[in-house]
Assembly symmetry: C2
Homo-oligomer: 634 residues x 2
């Protein structure tokens, strides 16, 4: 008689580490604590992080645990997320956390609370856009949470192109007020996080109009809801924009403004002023009002890195415990991490998770494109179970997809970078030396030769870096020459630009790829100089893998060459070194213990459909069908 | 004073076609009705389809409309989907629809009802696996919906590798029964659609054991729930596996079997029998039991095509009405469809939507990989709004992602194809002629020259096809030679296979890509011979674009060459010709009228968070924080 899976077993399974995972950890070639401390920036930071994790995942585990999240309706997600925000804010007041601590907490909690824009955009917006006097008024209110705010820029019909925004703030000299309007359907504010149901205030971006003259886009502090009973202020209509692919815990909102009046001093006037008699005075560059968005682009790269670390953690751990088919008939099923095809999915993601870094806003497009593709690869590497929300990677994937369009659609950002590169190239060609990331443009293209002579050169990071530099220079120069030719042929400038957009995008990518590996190599060089030889070797290997993999992706034919390989047993330890709390990994497939099947099964107890043995819809719908049979009357 | 957006306008906006979209349609170069009839397979089929659409989207619009769907909780989605299934089944009985009609209905309804596996796997399973006597018993029950069934094959720890399944059916000679068990945690059935809460029966795949001898995997009819009150049968534990990325209207389920007894005649015995005295008799090939899964793979390609059509429809229509930035300062914002970068996102998807076809199960991997990437491209082409569920493409994307892992994980399927190609190549090399899709293997590799001599050759489909054939032959031969060398060097066979997995996958893709364009070219040749010259030209252009785009994707450097281009005004008409009902397109961004902003705004009225002006969570959580200010007691 076959063995039986009993209810008792299912109720009493023990949380022991899966032996396959344990084995991988035991064969790791470096000391994992060393790497954890490197990633945290020192042992004391590791201790601090663990203390913070303890607050959220031990003292307040019911509120902050991921386990019920995949089973909540949108309303429940929002409500729980508001409750979490309030608790985080209260604790912040209690412990007096610094901005740095708060960044760490955001990472630990996967940025998963509704009012996070209050700290990432509203307060930074006041700090960057308000005068000292205005700061003295608004910052204490915001910091003590007497008001909660967001940043309202994008409109239903307008995203990346800020010049196209239609909301107007018209100065009424008689009453010393601005009158704010969203004149058309396409002008209503649409998307800001927290705008729908949570926030009491918003920094609203609008075209400033004085005496029918437009003075460009400026920020205005607008009260959205009563501080007494939270009802919308007169002249406003606002609400939630509806269900999204992810982030349904956040009430992204719409806002219609119909002759809404705000006092003149509610224009945030650090960069431009309007006087009592309606005179407009520009104080600093017009682009200063974009500062908040640029700040957020840099934050996005950091979010991207955290998401990729989370996805790589799940993918590597699950690949080590999942067993599927065998190459040698008659032997047990193999760990899927053994298969070359699986390694080529998982290892590049792991290497990239160590490569991403917030260098500049210009990299937002390149790094989010690369990372979202990789997060999806991690998800697919989990096979069918990667489709379940409790896998965590499913949510990682849909969350990270937002990043390719928010705060600057990626194609638009590539084209901005490309415009800059074309200008720099024109400088270099005309003899003006370029510096920094574009210094390569001063070199002599005709002198280039392939720096790779032997198989060992394929692991020489300096030579590989030279390859990336030559590629970037060649591609950027090629596009510049084409633009030049097209201009000389007499085509209008806008046609020339449009007809070469795809090429311009490629040039930007080649340049940004170089910047990325440049940073990675420099960082690894630094680390190798200070860390243990064992860890240094692993980090150099990881970096080399990433650099080679990039070449393969672009050029196509090195893929299984002997130059490409990673020491497999380190894979589990390299994700363990991210040292993410199980609640932060937030995945039934990627927990430290590797007991994926128990966690999957356990998770079903949160599924609302499982509350009753017979689902109510049976009585409502199905029973009639089943009982009716062929005699059913229609 | 600025114009104002009034509540009256929002409540009374008219459903007129957006003028940008109208303009595109007016400049189309062919007669759209002709193409609609071609795609439907004749005018009479178009009429039939429209009649069916009318039943669901006029007579029963409240039940079948997509508009509330994005705002439903999982429980609500499931319940509505059961209600829809019951209505579809009742109507099927009423109208006596054929299987072909029913396929069409599935497409119209986006396969969006909970019990669809009853018709796609359960009934076909009985037809393929049962004896005539068994069919006479089970088919009438299933066809009259006295029982509703599913197909339970995959287990928590086992997917694609059917040999690894652990569920056992042990013959008890004394009682003439099988005893079915899922002995370990990893053996419980996991994933089958409808298994959790809906179905009364399942075809359960299990290892047949007689006198401790294993006779391989066979199908058993198992009753899951009482026909009287729907409670689970004794010895069974079953439920919903939880929230997924999409398809949350379907109760994918788990099933634990603990000494569950079924009579011997419940083994479906068309392909193998067990006699009363426990003798096992194999009647046909062991692989016959996979037939149901293979059937589903072919269906998947058809689903994929429909999803891509839906996504392309949304992407093209929205790109025609969305205006964003301008290339020439001082001019109005441009349709984003004008930008080259947007065209390179949208047009390949459009071309592919005309290319996909269910040729064979082997293409499942190639076509679902290509299509899911394209559906995501369509989603991104909608910018930020593509992240909203009402965009439809968001749901398309997450739905189509399931297809890369279900019914055979794609990497595994590529490797199966590659094994077949290696065998065929060995035949060809040893002088045995290969036929059909591998006939190219008989050619002489050394005789190949590039068939493209002039720019006009780049539009010659026969010459382009020759390029694909040479590529497939070269890649497949290269891998075959490498395997040969590695074998000769004395490596064990399983190591040789594993070390070349990535190359084998590439060989399979090169071959499958050839098969795809082969079919597309043949189909267009056929069509051109019979249709109007205007339509023929457009279809040939679309096919050429697809073929050239494939070369670019693989080889990298043709992208903006003059050979690549499409007549833009036809783009809208080419998606209009799919002639999907607005309810089937199911997208606020992709409806026929192009009034995207009205539809987006309208959709928010279904958002539960908008039911009250002040969300209940304000009283529960937020109010305390806001009122507490700095004096809050913690």
């Amino acid at each position: 008689m076959a063995a039986r899976l009993t209810a008792e077993f299912l109720d009493n399974w023990k949380n022991e580490v899966n032996p396959d995972l344990q084995k991988e950890r035991e064969t790791c070639t470096f000391k994992i604590e060393e790497l954890i401390h490197v990633l945290d920036g020192g042992k004391e930071n590791t201790i601090k992080r663990k203390n913070l994790e303890n607050i959220f995942f031990t003292s307040y585990v019911d509120l902050f645990s991921f386990k019920r999240r995949p089973f909540m309706s949108k309303s429940e997600q929002y409500e729980s997320s508001v409750a979490k925000s309030v608790k985080v804010f209260e604790l912040r007041r209690e412990y007096n956390w610094s901005e740095e601590d708060f960044d760490l907490i955001n990472r630990i909690l996967n940025y998963d609370f509704a009012l996070s824009l209050h700290h990432t955009m509203f307060i930074p917006g006041i700090e960057r856009l308000a005068t000292d006097e205005q700061k003295a008024k608004w910052l204490p209110l915001a910091q003590s949470y007497q008001i909660v705010g967001t940043y309202a820029q994008t409109e239903l019909g307008h995203g990346t192109n800020l010049l196209g925004l239609e909301t107007t703030a018209t100065y009424d000299r008689e009453r010393d007020e601005f009158m704010i309007n969203t004149p058309r359907l396409s002008s209503m504010k649409w998307w800001p996080g927290g705008l729908g149901k949570s926030c009491t205030h918003a920094i609203v971006l609008a075209q400033l109009v004085i005496d029918s003259q437009n003075h460009g886009m400026h920020p205005f502090m607008v009260q959205l809801r009563s501080l007494d009973d939270h009802t919308p202020m007169p002249g406003l209509k606002l609400g939630d924009i509806g269900t999204k692919l992810a982030a349904n815990n956040i009430d992204n909102g719409f806002l219609i403004l119909n002759n809404v009046r705000v006092p003149r001093e509610n224009m945030l006037m650090k960069n431009a002023r309007v006087t009592r008699d309606g005179k407009f005075i520009q104080l600093s560059g017009n682009k200063a009002n974009y500062a908040t968005m640029v700040l957020v682009r840099v934050k996005i790269i950091s979010w991207t890195k955290d998401t990729l670390r989370q996805a790589a953690t799940v993918s590597v751990r699950y690949s080590a415990v999942r067993r599927q088919t065998t190459l040698k008939p008659g032997t047990p099923e193999q760990q899927v991490l053994d298969f070359q095809t699986q390694q080529m999915k998982v290892f590049p993601c792991l290497a990239a998770a160590y490569a991403l870094h917030a260098q500049s806003a210009g990299l937002k497009a390149f790094l989010t494109d690369m990372s979202t593709g990789m997060v999806e690869t991690c998800r697919r590497s989990c096979g069918g179970h990667g489709y379940l929300q409790v896998s965590g990677v499913a949510e990682n994937m849909v969350s990270s997809l937002a990043l390719v369009t928010i705060e600057g659609e990626n194609t638009v950002l590539y084209l901005q970078t490309a415009r800059y590169l074309m200008k720099q190239m024109a400088n270099a060609v005309s003899g003006t030396k370029t510096r920094g990331s574009t210094a390569y443009m001063n070199r002599d293209l005709s002198s280039y030769t392939c720096p790779i002579d032997s198989q060992s050169d394929c692991r020489n990071l300096n030579k590989l870096r030279e390859l990336y530099m030559q590629r970037a220079h060649r591609v950027v120069m090629g596009v510049a020459q084409r633009l030049q030719m097209d201009m000389e042929s007499g085509q209008p400038q806008e046609a020339v630009f449009n007809n070469n957009m795809v090429a311009l995008t490629r040039a930007a990518k080649a340049h940004l790829h170089l910047s990325t590996i440049d940073w990675y190599i420099a960082r690894v060089d630094n680390l190798v100089a200070t860390c243990s030889p064992a860890l240094g070797q692993v980090m150099a290997e990881l970096c080399t893998f990433f650099v080679l993999w990039g070449i393969v992706q672009e050029a196509g034919d090195f893929l299984e060459s002997e130059t490409l390989g990673l020491n497999q047993p380190n894979a589990v330890s390299l994700v363990d070194a991210f040292d993410m709390h199980d609640e932060t990994v937030a995945s039934a497939l990627g927990m430290f213990d590797g007991n994926v099947y128990q966690h999957l099964y356990e998770s079903t107890k949160y599924e609302p459909n499982n509350r009753t043995e017979v689902h109510p819809s049976y009585y409502k719908h199905l029973r009639g069908l089943l009982k009716g049979g062929q005699q059913s009357k229609l």
